[in-house]
């Protein structure tokens, strides 16, 4: 894999700091069930603006380097907060906490973040400092 090669080479070249942290394997932040449910939430509430494949249309892209690359220095907290406070556009904060958790799990999954055993939690995620860097091109 090209990206893996890049990761190893860059990883060897970098000593420490946030760039190196961003290159470490992404942590598991949600469960597979959440992402599965989130696909439906996304399709019904988000896809009309952000595209069925998250690549962006009337609204911004939510996948790949066009969404979150290392140079952006995004962390999970502010992006999740943006989603729960502002989305869906025009009807902000109109979904349930569970729907936001699920939709965000789906977005993380689509960006190459692995599923785990701990559920993504609404309150904790708002202040998460985990780097958000898409694994997808």
């Amino acid at each position: 894999m090209n990206s893996l090669k890049t990761r190893v080479l860059l990883g060897a070249a970098l000593v420490a700091g946030s760039a190196a942290a961003a290159l470490a394997a992404p942590p598991a932040l949600y469960t597979a069930d959440q992402a599965k449910a989130g696909a439906d939430v996304y399709a019904q509430n988000c896809a009309m603006c952000h595209g069925a494949d998250l690549s962006g249309a009337a609204g911004p892209a939510l996948v790949g380097q066009a969404f979150a690359n290392a140079a952006n220095k995004f962390t999970v907290g502010p992006v999740f907060t943006e989603v729960v406070q502002q989305m869906p556009a025009g009807q902000p904060a109109s979904l349930t906490h569970e729907q936001y958790e699920d939709a965000f799990a789906y977005i993380l999954q689509q960006n190459g973040y692995p599923a785990g055993t701990t559920k993504l939690d609404y309150t904790a995620t708002m202040s998460s400092k985990v780097p958000l860097v898409s694994e997808k091109p």
Binding site: A58, G90, Q91
Partner: protein, 589 residues
């Protein structure tokens, strides 16, 4: 002609809704389809092209073409053509259409007509040249947008059009390039970048060319991008000047911002301005300050929500007028500043007219930036009136905080959004596409992060309690009084620009896909097109070739309303997507 082509023609014609048209119009309507499906396609014969000079642009108001975004430097969107008039408009028929363009985003472009060429843009920055008389497609240029640009869009993938100068067709892109193409071939002449994509900036406006300089600016006010306007050398794209709309601390106005906040202060100048050739003054509107939540940035926050008068050769400011100080409601000051000579209370003025997002209709002296009058044209609770200095009094009680939710009118989309209105010198009226909606708004914590929205508020559009269920109207306002003369109300938002003509007509489109003509004096509907393929959110234009007058408009639903109007946009969910250009004319006798 092979039989299959004929079938295609008929099928295509039916799809365009020929039932409501005369037979002759139906046949004419299929011409472009024929041109596009003939195989192998003979290369189009490019009509001769006369380069556009500065004196052509100064004289654009009398041109047979449509040489710039708002037709002329005054920005009046008015044509001195009367071949189509109240007496014969009922026979208006389709002269030609483009093929249907399968992009499901909003078509907000204004076609530009120079000689026999028509240059149009589509969402996602495609540029197409047509023979304006026959509809034959002459060339297409497909710009490749950097994917990062899609991260920081505000309100769809729209492109509002090109500028023409010399032999060039010039346009801006969502990833902040400005590109010049050869008018007859579509080949790239130059291509320059104004800003990185993905951090906030994105260009959707058409450039304006003045004195050999391409004047253009970008969007980004929702991402804390510090606004700027540039002048580029039209021959090579090199930057001649750059003026930030938000001053640094050492510049005049810099003290109207808390320390350091100018860097993320917004002020995107995202709509095409106008130009006063008599005084060599550029007039350009500036958008909302960033973040939206005003409590985070005490001060007037110059030059957000302002009209700037600039020297087009240097970018130096001559004067400014701020419509809404310390704005917290997203009342951008970018609606077209239209030049008009008016009389008010017995005195003559060289005025600039602007129907503002904040719900007031402004007449400002364009020689010095002093207010002549400002009067509300919608139900307005955010602005309480005009103070002794000639500026809006903002309702401090209706500014949200982190703990206070407010309800006010108009909504964040304003009493009028970007759609160009018209100034008609014959009726002495302005025609204003109007929105009627209010909103709730409350502050939320936000910190700046490049590439993420920088708002600090959440907000939701609501019915106006004084006109529930009525989201739009087309208004005529008397320039000598600032008062409404007539109004056509609609349950839909009025989401399209207007064209006024010497034929005594005002054209505008509806979101359910009808182009309409109104009697300019009374507002009575005198013509309605057959239902077109999609909703209309663009600006109609008119031009003449070989003595025949045409009216052209894009259909293609999308834009800001379906994204941001929430529940109020429910009736529009089923409007078909995709763009198509329609050109109308009187039937040949």
């Amino acid at each position: 002609m092979p039989k299959i082509s004929l079938q295609h023609r008929l099928k295509g014609a039916t799809a365009f809704g020929c039932a409501g048209l005369a037979l002759a119009a139906c046949a004419a309507l299929a011409v472009p389809a024929k041109a596009q499906t003939a195989a192998p396609a003979a290369a189009p014969v490019a009509p001769a092209y006369t380069p556009v000079s500065q004196s052509d642009l100064v004289g654009a108001s009398t041109s047979d073409g449509w040489l710039m975004f708002n037709r002329d430097y005054a920005g009046q969107d008015y044509v001195p053509f009367d071949q189509i008039n109240a007496g014969n408009v009922s026979t208006l028929s389709t002269a030609w259409t483009s093929g249907k363009i399968d992009i499901p985003d909003g078509f907000e472009g204004t076609p530009i007509v120079s000689g026999n060429y028509m240059f149009v843009t589509t969402p996602k920055d495609h540029v197409i040249a047509y023979n304006a008389k026959t509809g034959e497609k002459l060339w297409q240029y497909d710009y490749k947008i950097a994917p990062a640009a899609y991260k920081t869009l505000c309100c769809d993938t729209n492109n509002r059009g090109v500028a023409v100068y010399g032999s060039s067709v010039i346009f801006g892109t969502l990833d902040n390039h400005v590109v010049a193409l050869d008018a007859t071939t579509g080949k790239e002449q130059w291509n320059v970048s104004l800003a990185e994509p993905g951090v906030g900036y994105s260009i959707t406006e058409a450039p304006l060319v003045v004195n050999g300089k391409v004047i253009i600016a970008s969007g980004g006010g929702e991402y804390g991008a510090r606004g700027f306007i540039v002048g580029l050398d039209a021959t090579n794209g090199q930057q001649v000047w750059k003026t930030y709309t938000i001053p640094s601390p050492d510049e005049p106005g810099g003290d109207t911002w808390p320390k350091g906040m100018y860097q993320t202060g917004g002020g995107a100048a995202w709509m095409t301005g106008t130009y006063d050739a008599d005084t060599n003054t550029l007039l350009w509107g500036v958008g909302n300050p960033g973040p939206w939540l005003a409590k985070m940035r005490p001060g007037k926050n110059l030059y957000s929500d302002s009209l700037l008068a600039l020297d087009p050769d240097t970018g130096k400011m001559k004067w400014y007028y701020q419509y809404t100080a310390n704005d917290t409601w997203d009342y951008d000051g970018v609606n077209t500043p239209q030049l008009a000579d008016i009389t008010y209370e017995g005195k003559s003025y060289k005025a600039v007219i602007e129907a503002n997002r904040n719900g007031y209709f402004y007449a400002i002296d364009r020689t010095d930036g002093k207010l002549i009058y400002a009067k509300p044209f919608i139900h307005d609770t955010s602005i309480l009136g005009i103070d002794k200095t000639g500026h809006a009094i903002t309702n401090e009680e209706l500014k949200p905080t982190l703990t206070k939710s407010i309800f006010t009118c108009p909504s964040f989309l304003g009493g009028k959004n970007w759609w160009p209105g018209s100034i008609d010198p014959e009726t002495n009226m302005a025609y204003v596409p109007t929105l009627h909606a209010c909103m709730t708004m409350v502050g939320v914590p936000v910190t700046y992060s490049a590439g993420l929205p920088f708002l600090g508020e959440k907000f939701e559009m609501k019915d106006d309690p004084t006109s529930p269920g009525q989201y739009g109207s087309l208004q005529a306002i008397d320039l000598s009084t600032g008062k409404k003369v007539w109004e056509q109300k609609s349950s839909y938002p009025w989401d399209a620009g207007t064209l006024a003509t010497k034929g005594g007509l005002v054209f505008s489109g509806t979101v359910d896909g009808y182009l309409k003509a109104f009697d300019a004096k009374t507002g009575q509907v005198v013509w309605t097109s057959p239902q077109l393929t999609s909703g209309i959110i663009s600006n109609p234009i008119s031009y003449q070739i070989d003595g025949k007058q045409y009216v052209a408009i894009w259909t293609g639903w999308g834009g800001v309303w379906p994204i941001w109007a929430g529940k109020l946009a429910a009736p529009e969910v089923k409007i078909p997507r995709g763009g198509q250009l329609y050109v109308f004319a009187l039937p040949s006798s």
